[in-house]
Every structure is written in structure tokens, then in C-alpha cells.
Amino acid sequence: MKADKEGVLTGNHFLDGDHACCEGAIAAGCRFVAGYPITPSTEVVERIASRFPLVGGIFIQMEDEIASSIAICGGSWAGKKSMTVTSGPGLSLMMEHIGYAAMTETPCVFVDVQRGGPSTGLPTMPAQADIMQARWGSHGDYEIIALAPNSCQEAFDLTVHAFNLSEKYRVPVLFMLDECVGHMTEKVVIPEADEIEIEPRKMTNKKPGEYLLYETDDSMVPEMVHAGEGYNFHITGLTHDERGYPNLTVDTQAKLVRRLCDKINKNADDIIMYEDFHLDDADTVVIAFGITSRIAQHAVNMARDEGKKVGFIRLQVIWPFPEQIIRELAGGNVKKFVVPELNLGQLVLEVERVVAGQAEVVSVPHAGGTVHNPEDIYEKL
């Protein structure tokens, strides 16, 4: 399916990452946004508030992030592609409904423009320290998808993709910008609507009576219905059976929670996205994402200019983590993985887990507030 022409701002723009993210959401067909102001993400909802009235969307500034994060679940079940937008302190409050959206299989997008933490931290400065919270922040076993753009163009492109993934897998998708990408301004090319691929919501063809809310086929993703269509569906955060009814038994729990994880993990190949450079001859590989990937690429270029055999993997999807490629590299000629990130070592733990002692893993941490100096990364290569 192609994007609806209405609202797609086709053309060349000079936009900051937050605004580009807003345009990506509109192009993806998002028409319900509930949010609460928080630096450095506010520009996304400000632009939504200004753009929505003339594209048939509805925005509401809720009383807090908790309310915003469940209002979008309601919006999604009532038939609109829905999104909320926040930064670290707000993301902490939204954890309740990242879990709820995962449990009820509600397609929705959570935009997190990361700033320095913990707590109020550095409101106007970048960090990438929400990476583990994105993956593990809500209680219980569940899987989400998280993406991280490294440019304003990607803030547009990958927002569209975030919506597509949330629809395809009926899962909350976290769109993890950082303050730097969110607030910097670059050229953004918005294509024609018919060049933008849109994943339609997986609606059922079954009639009420034949349809079960959480019945699945091999895709492990159930078909959806909306409020007002006569299906009289029931959603709950309680452990539930295929009808959606609470069923607090060991068997139902195992079946449900395993499927919620499997539908992401077993489709990881379809979801994972990364760019790689110079892996063929590399004995050292840098793994980075978001703004840090640009600094890392600079460092890799410096090393390559000197003839060093350094490869580079730039993650666009962080969760699920691209285990396979890293495992293959670790089992091959790569002796060292270098992981720079704007936190004191989060994603590096995942790299260590996957590499499992087969190669050296070097963390290049940074407490946030700005980006690395390329030299800090270069020195480790």
C-alpha cells in the first residue's frame, strides 16, 4: 500500500530531526497523537498540533505521559494510527503502557528523543542512555522493536518504517532519536506519496461470531478489529486467552507470553536493519547507532585512511539486536569489537553477550551532554 497523498509534504526541506519525525508520522498515516511537553521532544508535537487540523488528524496534549501513553492505545483500537512523543523522564512514566501495548498487541509508536539522565538530567543535551530501558523497562517478559535514526532524513524515513513495523507485528515500536539528531537541522527529502510504502493494518475479514481477538496463524500476529464495528471485543492487560478473556493459568500465560516474544524474535531477520562498511577484510569492527554512528564513521574513515582493517556496523534497528551478523564476525576474522555510545556502557553488554568471549569487546562510553570526539573512538581502533 502507498501513502495517502493528503498530508505528505513532498519536496526538499531543511528540517530538524523532530520536525522530520513529525512529517514521517503524518506520511505514515498517523492521525492520533497524544503527548505531554518535554524537552527535547516537544518540537514533534508542536508541529503535529500545527499540521493536524488540516490533514484530518487529532492531537491532544494530555495531563501527563501516563495518560498520553494509554490514550494512544485507545486511539489505535478506535481505528487511528497513533503515536506519543517524549524524552527520558516521560519514557519512565510511559513504561506502564509499553507493557500494556505489548500485552494487548496494540500497534502504536513511542518517540523518545533521548537526553542525559538519570532523572531530570540534561534536558537540552544528547544521550543514548535509554537503550536498555527501551528493551527492558516495563515489567514482565515481552519484546518491542526499537529504531534509531542518525540523520534528519532518517528521522523522516525511519518514522514511516516504525509505523509499518508496529502495524505488521502489532507491537509498540520505540523510535529513539537523541537530542542531537532531534535538534539539528539538515536537508530532508520527502518523496511523492506513491513512493512511500505503507504497511496496512492487519484487519480481519471474519464476521463477528467467527472471529477470535487473539487467534493466530503461523505469522503469530493476530488479525485486528476496531471499536464500533460490532465485534464486541475485550482487551485486557491480564493474561488472556484467544477470546481476549482473562485466563489466569500457567498454560495460558506460557502460550501468550511465548508468542508475544516469538512473533518478534522469530521474525528478527525481517525486522533487523543495519548498514555495514568494510566488513570483508575487517579485524576490528565498530558498532554504533544514532548520532554516535556518525562520529564513529568519522573515526573509522580516519583509521581506514591509515590502512587499518576496520569495519563498521551502523544499527538502524537496535531491538531486536542483530545477533547473527555479530556472531558470524566473532567466529570469523574479527578480533575486536568497539562499541561507542552516549552512555556508560549499555549496548556493549549485548555485544559482549553475543560475542561470548570469541573476540575482545571494547566499550567507548560517554556520559552524554555532547558527542564523542572522533579521536576518542579512533584511539581504540
Binding site: P123, E186, K187, T370, V371
Partner: protein, 180 residues
Amino acid sequence: MSKKEMKITGFGGQGIILTGLLIGRAATLYEDKHAVLIQSFGPEARGGACGAQVTVSDEPILYPYVKEPEILVTLSQEAYSTYIGQLRPGGTLIYEENLVTPRDLPEGVKSYCVPSTQIAEDLGRKIVQNIVALGFFTAVTKIVDPESMKNAIKTAVPKGTIDLNLKAFDKGYSYFKNGS
């Protein structure tokens, strides 16, 4: 053209961020260049010294921040004091003639000044002093073509003010051309 890193600075309300935005728009939308703009946020953006960091390059730009600008534009004394220490040796300083006294100018710096506020006042609207300065900047630095800059202005300022802004740009541009 190799990579050009610059800072546009002044006090909040002078249109500093817009000036940076126009340079980026001219370079990316009306020429085939790459540009990144980083603007200051937080308390410093609300009065006091404020700055826009702009990088323009023929190649994609990886590192987005400007730490040691090659070109520094200062439209206020406070901004001058805050940022002059960052200017690269041999760099270019552009300043507002009547608002900035370039004390302790580092050696080797090429400096150019324009009475942009006065020129804007002569045009009847002090508010366009940043556009006068932008015209002057365009003439001094030659980073983007003046036509590109004018196109960027036309599509970014309020409709009723396009002529005034273009006039302001031309005044600033020709102030350098006539002076040199």
C-alpha cells in the same frame, strides 16, 4: 569547496537562528551542498549570548558540532567575548560595527565589519539587521551564491516582508562589494 565551519552569534531576539537557518537552506535547497545547523537551546537561547553552529560542505557531514569555527559572526559584544576564543587561527571574523568592539583580537584573524543595525534602521526596520549582516556575510565568505541566499530568504520569511528582506540583503551584500 572544502568543509566550512562557522558560528553565527549574538543576543536572543536578533534573529541569529534564522540567519543560520537561511545559510543552511541556501546551501542545501538551492545548491547541491550539505549543511548541518545546530542551534543553542535552553537559558542561553532566551536572552544572553546565543549561537547557531553551521557546517557547509560538498561532502556529507559526519560530525555535526562546530567547536573551532573558521568563520565567526558576532552581532553583540557579549557574543564576541564568549566566542572569540574559539575562532581558529587565521579565521574570519565578521562583526556588527556599532555593537561590537573587537578587543584582544587574536593575531592573523581577518576581520570585517558592517553597521548592519544602522543600515536596517535606514531601511525603516531595525528587525532586518540580521539579513543585512547575512548579505555582508555572503559577500565576504562566498560560501553560497547570493542568488541561492535570496531564494532561501524568499521562501522563509513572512510573505509581506520579502521585499524588505531582499533589500536588506542587497544592502549588506553591496556594503562589502563597494567597500572592497
